[in-house]
Amino acid sequence: MNLATNLFHAGAEIFLLTMICFILIADQFIGKTSKMPTYILVHLTLLCCSIVTVATHTPGVAVTFNNMFVDDLMSDVLKLLAYLTVAMMLVYSRAYLVARGLFTSEFMLLALFSLLGMMVMISACNFLTLYLGLELLSLSMYAMVALQRDSAVATESAMKYFILGALASGLLLYGMSMIYGATGTLDVYAVSTSIAKGVYNPQLLAFGLVFIVAGLAFKLGVVPFHMWVPDVYHGAPTAVTMLIGSAPKLAAFAFVMRILAEALQPLQGQWSTMLAILAILSIAIGNLSAIAQTNIKRMFAYSTIAHMGYLCLGVLTGNIEGYSSAMFYVVTYVLMTLGGFGMIMLLSREGFEADNLADYKGLNQRSPWLAFLMLLLMFSMAGVPPTVGFYAKFAVLQSVVQTGHYALAIIAVLFSLIGAFFYLRVVKLMYFDAPESHEPIHYRPDTSLLITFNGLGILFLGLLPGTLMSVCAVSVQQSLLLH
């Protein structure tokens, strides 16, 4: 392919990078007194990115830059969702950041850099590009967690995140190098064909696979590689937690798809077993530990661990049904996470974090509407219809049952019953208990509107989940079959 086609398919990434550089400079002039112009510029950039992504969409799978980069429907859908997620994160967190003096251009630019990292990861088609994207994402994240320089908790969690994240990257690189040693290539598709042809060193490949799965497990935060998740979620400013908990999971899903479902597809039997163990442990430990939490951010952290376990359940089936159910799961998970953390930020004020469970007592009496939206979010996370969270679990369980893993399905539903308890406890606090504080809630038009949109979206997708399910299925199908 010639240079023009190459650049065309990477249009969104190039545009974003250009805009980041432009905003870096422009902010020196327009952002002196207020950061609002920069903020608006960032939103405009995200909007234009989505236009570029839609405009550069071509049917089928386009592999460019000497098989380093791929542009297919799945990557476009995931990227569009990532833009939406980052934009929602910025809207939710503006007032929160202003109150804490963190509403700076650094925050916004780091968010954009992490977005760029995600986009590279989503479109990567070579182990090197994958790693490049992952590191760009991770380094921006480390910096964002540590953005609150004076806070000891934030610094500690940033340190922890950095050390464990670097370790995970090391594991991943080590695994990649072994795969390179075994197959002689780093190209996702070439690895797959050379394994399928039987041209490889089996021992080396098996070691490589173990390291790769361990590295992935670190990044996803599944048990037993989950230790960093609660601390980072708890320590980081809520706005950053929201970002860590949402959009990167979309990229992580693409990462898992490219490495496991495409490159290492011939070894599916082996990694399925590993994922099954990781998934069950995550679902069990995530749901059980969440019960003991009194801090809602930590509770969400453990709930994320459990959710990632369900994601693994979808992936381990190794067929298109399973992958698309996992994609649907990750999309709905991101929506619910945005809503959950959005609620925390909405209820937080200057000098007050609404991150203790007790802060939700009697919310129904302070604001019936917010309590209702939170009720929807909680039931969705617990997987109770008619919210979208149910269909996510439904699709995953269907693919698990279809491949005959009945025991996995039964264990998963039994632990989701345990999980239902701590989500119910939040509902109980909001509806059944009397409020502790009668501090009026500051409604800001932008966040109130967004949380309404977010909460009702969960209900709407719960009533009519068909379209989103089909979109996920089609995009996974296309990216796996058409190359």
Partner: protein, 494 residues
């Protein structure tokens, strides 16, 4: 559909839309408006279900008023509604109770009126959906969605121990439902990609799988019925729920579980049902006899009626698993009758509780002296609960016993003890509460029921008597469907 008018959809969504409207009236400053909208919605909700009865074809066992639209194309899930002789009466029963519940809570509920009324209306629509759904996923969605409003109703307006009761209720029922979900998914794959319940009825399934599926459904339905030994959530939930919540729980929610046995367990796994009939009958008889004895020892009126409900529902499951037309029809009549009677009894207890704020039998005595009209109504319902001929309670119990005699004399013998125990616990409670000398100054100050309460209890009294004297309008509806079910269940699906 009837003349292109989607009766079932309206029966489901009209109460839900009114429920949302009621919620939208906001806080308690608009309480009168919320009450009026709720009443209009509930009455309209009942009126729109009447064509289901008048337009019903009694001759066929096929599904009627069918509506079918694509819903989730990817999994071949349809928005498929329809009723037969088994499910139609429950939609009527449910819609009939909604206005009564709204009226019963008219003045009694003072805090967060809009949310209370809204929750009941939304639940009414969802329950109609459970009975009308012919698609496995649609059924499951309604089935689970039902939990949310009930959870809130018990937890917000319930008694002192409401939080414990609400969470216990939710987790107990969720446990059963989740296993049912796995069974539904298995059937989906087994049937080659269809979630239609009627397709499930035709899928051949090996015996081991049938047994496992039977138990998965059993967990879901037995918890809701509730059957011994998974009944322990019911007394807690009943005692803590507000009056309206208890009425809906007893009159409607318990029926959903029993309905599940007829719609899912028996036709989908007929061989397992036959193989495990002894087990089911055993549990049913334990419920009838043992729970009847437990009811005898209760000191709390609501708990007593709750245990009596479990005992009566034991009759229902007994009727199902003796596999003859008397048994199943008797059980269906028993379900409807129990809806009227237990609903009425909980309303009666509610009447007393509103005045005395106690459900303790020992706090009462001699109520007849101050509330003669109420005592008369209560008497009628107490008699119906003990199965007096001429009331609806008799028809169902008698028919089930008749069916049980055909199956095995000793089943009938054990079941018939309920006529003694039922009479004992109900009438003994009645005697202690109503008769005797005025027990204390609070009882002496009681005022008799007003027009609103007379209206609610009067309607139910008519229903109980009418069904007891002339049950034909109910039984003729179910004949065709029940016979068809029996033929179906007799065929092996191995």
């Amino acid at each position: 559909m009837i003349f292109g008018f989607p009766v079932l959809s309206v029966a489901i969504w009209l109460p839900i839309i009114f429920g949302v409207l009621v919620l939208a009236t906001g806080d308690d400053r608009n309480a009168p408006l919320a009450r009026i909208i709720a009443l209009v919605g509930a009455v309209l909700g009942f009126l729109v279900t009447i064509p289901l009865y008048t337009g019903f074809d009694k001759m066929t066992s096929a599904m009627q008023f069918v509506e079918m639209k694509d819903w989730i194309i990817r999994y071949n899930v349809h928005y498929h509604l329809g009723v037969d002789g088994i499910s139609m009466l429950f939609i009527l029963l449910n819609s009939f109770f909604t206005p009564l519940v709204v009226i019963a809570g008219w003045e009694v509920i003072e805090k967060r009126v809009a949310q209370y009324m809204g929750a009941f209306l939304i639940m009414s629509g969802i329950v109609n959906g459970v009975f009308a759904a012919l698609d496995g996923v649609l059924f499951y969605v309604f089935w689970e969605a039902m939990l949310i409003p009930m959870f809130v109703i018990i937890g917000v307006w319930g008694g002192p121990n409401r939080v414990y009761a609400a969470i216990k209720f939710f987790l107990y029922t969720l446990l059963g439902s989740l296993l049912m979900l796995i069974a539904l998914l298995y059937l989906y794959n087994q049937s080659g990609g269809s979630f239609e319940i009627l397709d499930f009825h035709q899928v051949p399934i090996p015996m081991t799988a049938q047994i496992l599926i039977f138990f998965a459904f059993f967990m879901a339905f037995a918890v809701k019925v509730p059957m011994f030994p998974v009944h322990t959530w019911l007394p807690d939930a009943h005692v803590e729920a507000p009056t309206g919540g208890s009425v809906v729980l007893a009159a409607i929610m318990l029926k959903v579980g029993a309905y599940g046995f007829l719609r899912f367990s028996m036709p989908i796994t007929p061989d397992a049902s036959h193989a495990l009939a002894g087990f089911m009958i055993g549990l049913s008889l334990i419920a009838v006899v043992y729970i009847g004895l437990v009811a005898l020892t209760q000191s709390d009126m609501k708990k007593l009626v709750a245990y009596s409900s479990i005992s009566h529902m034991g009759f229902v499951t007994l009727g199902f698993f003796i596999f003859n037309a008397y048994g199943i029809e008797g059980a269906l009549i028993q379900m409807i009758s129990h809806g009227f009677v237990s609903g009425a009894l909980f309303l009666c207890i509610g009447v007393l509780y509103d005045r005395m704020h106690s459900r303790n039998i020992a706090d009462y005595g001699g109520v007849v002296n101050t509330m003669p009209v109420f005592a008369a109504f209560f008497m009628l319902f107490a008699m119906a609960n003990s199965g007096l001929p001429g009331t609806s309670g008799f028809v169902g119990e008698f028919t089930v016993i008749l069916g049980a005699v055909k199956a095995n004399f000793w089943y009938a013998f054990a079941a018939a003890t309920t006529l003694i125990f039922g009479a004992a616990y109900t009438l003994w409670m009645y005697k202690r509460v109503i008769f005797g000398a005025v027990a204390n100054s609070h009882v002496a100050e009681l005022t008799d029921i007003g027009l609103r309460e007379k209206l609610v209890l009067g309607i139910l009294a008519l229903a109980v008597l009418g069904m007891g004297v002339y049950p034909l309008p109910f039984t003729e509806i179910m004949h065709a469907s029940v016979n068809d079910l029996l033929v179906h269940v007799a065929r092996s699906k191995l």
